[in-house]
Symmetry: C2
């Protein structure tokens, strides 16, 4: 036989359909052993080579990953959280580096996305990125698991959940913030950000902060905590309430840089100086953080690495390989908003 053998040649000789041939060559259990053996024997005889591209097509791989963005509906509609936007950029780039297209779709928590992607051939797997209330979409995550959709999720380390969550070590990040503020001699602390099960990332930052202070003999009851979602406005409002309360404070750890920027504005509007009167620490290291006055000390989440890890791990799941690493370690970035020398 001079021409290159095709799966149709094998199908003809084996007396089965071409789709049975491709299934048999993939050792699919849908084909009985007798037929599988027969097909393999003929394939060897014809010196048949599987065309990888065609094989991908048969497996209906789209070489496309889907990114579902969940927006906090409470924030200004014309803005995207800068941490989000940075992740969108790094995920896009990580996909490009791995030959994947990225299908981006904004979602509402109420949408039927969990069902929508079940049988679609649009994407091989899903990345979920969002800051909504975690408790609201836990049920949908469980449905995705049940229907064996390949997916990863950027978020918090929630107890009892398997490896699909790729995350920062938020608790360690909170600890780093606390240790830094203690080392600078600060004594009266506040945390601004939602700290509850509905915001598990913020909550873990708060718990890590408490860990560090507790190790220094400061009781959790002595740490002031004011709620805020991740916006400048929320930060400004929260610090206003904190200062109005008259409770003394000399260092504030904010659950995000956006909150910290609002907190700095609120403090400066009261005629107080940063860090001389109050130190302010952020979390994220968004691009703006190095340009604020004073430049913001913060806990960095490496969005570039995070994007790579999401894409890499999703591709592992798509290829039926286990996830090996699902946590990135935060890093402290010291600028001047917390002071530079110990207050003694």
């Amino acid at each position: 036989m001079k021409e290159k053998a095709t799966s149709f040649d094998i199908a003809y000789l084996a007396g089965v359909s071409q789709s049975t041939v491709s299934r048999a060559l993939r050792n699919s259990p849908q084909v009985n052993k007798e037929t599988r053996d027969k097909v393999h024997a003929i394939a060897r005889q014809l010196n048949y080579k599987v065309d990888k591209n065609a094989s991908n097509l048969r497996k209906q791989r789209s070489s496309t990953l889907a990114l579902l963005l969940f927006e906090d509906p409470t924030t200004d509609e014309s803005l995207i959280n800068p941490f989000f936007l940075s992740m969108l950029g790094s995920i896009t780039r990580a996909c490009a580096q791995r030959g994947q297209d990225l299908l981006v779709s904004f979602q509402q928590l109420s949408d039927d996305w969990h069902a929508d992607y079940e049988d679609t051939k649009k994407a091989d797997g899903i990345i979920l990125l969002g800051y909504g209330d975690y408790e609201d979409y836990e049920e949908k995550l469980n449905k995705l698991l049940a229907q064996e959709t390949h997916f990863v999720c950027w978020g918090a380390d929630v107890e009892g959940h398997p490896d699909f969550t790729i995350r920062s070590n938020n608790r360690q990040g909170g600890r780093l913030a606390g240790e830094h503020l203690l080392a600078l001699g600060h004594k009266r602390f506040a945390f601004i950000g939602n700290a509850s099960a509905g915001s598990p990332e913020f909550n873990q930052r708060f718990l890590g902060f408490c860990d560090a202070l507790q190790d220094a003999g400061i009781d959790r009851a002595a740490i002031l905590q004011y709620n805020a979602i991740s916006t400048e406005q929320a930060g400004q409002l929260a610090v206003h309430n904190l200062l109005e309360s008259g409770q003394p404070v000399d260092a504030i750890f904010c659950a995000s840089d956006l909150i910290a920027i609002g907190v700095m504005q609120g403090i400066q509007q009261q005629g107080l100086r940063i860090p001389d009167n109050i130190a302010v620490m952020g979390f994220d290291d968004i691009p703006v953080a190095s340009y604020t006055t004073p430049p913001l000390s913060t806990i960095q989440q490496d969005t570039s690495l995070a994007g790579e890890m999401l894409v890499e791990n999703l591709l592992r799941l798509v290829n039926n390989q286990p996830i090996e690493t699902n946590q990135i370690e935060p890093k402290i970035v010291i600028r001047t908003s917390c002071g530079t020398a110990s207050k003694g």
Copy 2:
């Protein structure tokens, strides 16, 4: 007839195939008039309603738009231009508002994207966004036109090109910058940014700047110009060369905010003050611009509106409607980097 009529019922009664029925109901010229009339008559008789969703499927609409991002390969690989990133965010959002998914793909200028999307059913149309050298991809744009791909492009108003380019009025933006610097009493001007056919957007900003100065009697030959691509590093290097040259300058208009940030750093490293010694003006209004020291006066491109206009116009093309508006007007944002009162 009690059940809802389907196109199969019409096909059966008309004695034609179901696909002929759908074509006839869309008044396709592929079906002769006699058959079209017959099909329409039966459809009326059966009180048949076209199912819009099914109709979309037949036209093979994917409800997906593709965004091809072209990155300037000369910039740091781990960074995305913040103007780009902001556009990515606003395009994603504009798609969501119109029920479209967005397929994002990073491209190299060397890639065969013009051919790749010709017959694909992945997307109904393409948005091109990039800062590469325009002359390098003009040929590919012409191929897209020739193969009747629906596409729009963010970029410059290049002579002889039809409506597919959605753009800022860059020349008017340059004029606004020049008029503002003149009104503040500045007299010796420089422009930092590439000003050639390969960078038509920057070039038009430069030309608009020259227009304003020329109206005030300042000859174009008197305006210093230093090349820079859109990075902080390039801005810093260019202003270093400008200051080294010893030529007097009291106001610098930069082709982008990234360049302006580098220029401000370069000026401050020489111990000079902004705006007292040298005024600095940017272009874009990226988020960081309001946080620099001093806050950067700049020409704003409304990325939210730009994203909407790209998506809206692409959908018009997909639906065979003409583009009506393809230009957004820039707006000056006055902060303090150019001074606030006239130097007289």
